[in-house]
Amino acid sequence: MAYVRRRFYEIFQKLHLILAATLIAAIYLHSASKNLLKTPIVYLFAAICLQIAIGALRFVWTLYRNIKHRNPLNRATVKTITYKTKERDTPVSDAVHVHVRLSRPWRPRAGQYVYLSIPGVSHTAFVQSHPFFVPWWYQDAEGDVIVFIVEKRKGFTQDLFHHTTNDVDQRKEMRAIIEGPYGKELDLESYATILLFATGIGIAGQLPYITQLLERYHNSGEKNRRIAVFWELDSESKCSNSHHQGFLLTASQKVDSAWVADMMMELLKRDTDAV
């Protein structure tokens, strides 16, 4: 059963909801009294109302996040990551960057994640939404863009690789639905030394903390702060621990470090005091 759950998670999740609804219907049929205001039907009614309320909350929140006048939906572009050396640029085969142009601008916070759905990726993608951290975001002439790092697994993430592009190609843009953001930010303000640990793709969750901590470092007068990032990559050959006057990564020469290399360079530029 655990294997089936892992292998067909999306089907399993939908089936779970259908079975839960069937259970409620079966209990309703089974109970002797059908009076809505008497036990046990009143409890069933309350359960259904709670489910509807949460569903409605999600629906309204998703509509608000995705739809704006004259900007109907977010647009996603899947971009190949390249590992740049002096000699040549090598495309990274195990991860891509998904750039989502937001129809309604919002500022992601550290520790937040969103559910991303891109219906154009495959035939079944319209019923799939997957959680991703927002490692960084930027603004260009057309508006706000958030970036996701997506590691190649099975299903949705594998299908994304069929839609990669290197150029700014309007035809390659796909509609994207974002649900969220969810998650809470850890309050790290009161700590003088902050150690951040990540393994593999987990670096996506730590980058916004570095960004925010650096911003606050520059904006506030408090200057006695140290930040250290320890990032471990899965493969032994690619493994590296980094701690050099802050968050400089010795892994920047490794191929997988290209996932975040551009952002790391940007953060290093902002880290004028070598925090």
Binding site: A2, L17, P40, A47, K184
Partner: protein, 212 residues
């Protein structure tokens, strides 16, 4: 001024299941307010910080993933209160099989209410700033108790009467029992409670043919 008849006062009084429903509502509110509560009690005294905030790690095999980690002692207290409440409600005042059938069914239905909050936990967890892992583990506990009470209801009903599958009610009983036993097998198989897997799968295997 007319004085109410004693029998009408008895009808107005809440029975144990209604008290349980109110208490369960209180526990749910307590869980969703836990972020605020913990913040407040830490401000009051550091002693409470050590009382409620340490993460709990049970060493018993198979139970780690049942409770779900990271879990605060505060969450464990809530889960224990919930289990004790259920145990009290299903036993106190139960005199015969018929009342056990009724009581277990009622408790099962009451527990469905907070279970419905788990349809998508992210919005609630984010709004109230509670831990998603704790939400998931409490949802798991609620589901397990609902299934267990459903099975108690079925077992008690089977021991006292025959199920007629030629009418709607009988078919509904069959569906409920099948879903309950199937879900319990699934929950225990997937949540890592390996020590329960064998008995529950066996129960699932026996339950449906027995009813049929």
């Amino acid at each position: 001024m007319s004085v109410p008849h004693p029998s009408s006062l008895t009808n107005l009084a809440m029975d144990i299941t209604q008290w349980y429903a109110v208490a369960l509502g209180g526990l749910v509110v307590l869980f969703y307010a836990s972020h605020l509560i913990i913040k407040m009690i830490i401000k009051i005294s550091c002693f409470f910080k050590h009382l409620f905030c340490p993460q709990v790690r049970l060493s018993m095999r198979g139970f780690n993933r049942c409770i779900g980690f990271p879990t605060l002692r505060f969450d464990v207290v809530l889960v224990v209160l919930f289990l004790v409440g259920n145990a009290i409600c299903i036993t106190v005042g139960v005199k015969d099989i018929a009342s056990l059938v009724e009581r277990s069914a009622l408790l099962c239905t009451i527990n469905l209410m907070p279970l419905a909050l788990g349809e998508r936990m992210n919005p609630m967890a984010s709004i109230f700033r509670v831990r998603l892992s704790a939400s998931a583990s409490i949802h798991g506990w609620l589901g397990s108790v609902v299934i267990a009470e459903g099975l108690v209801h079925i077992a008690a009903a089977l021991s006292s009467q025959h199920v007629n599958i030629h009418n709607t009610s009988g078919v509904a009983k069959l569906v409920v029992s099948h879903l309950c036993s199937c879900n319990l097998s699934r929950a225990n198989a997937s949540e890592g409670c390996r020590c329960w897997r064998g008995p529950t799968v066996l129960f699932h295997g026996i339950c449906t043919p027995t009813i049929l």
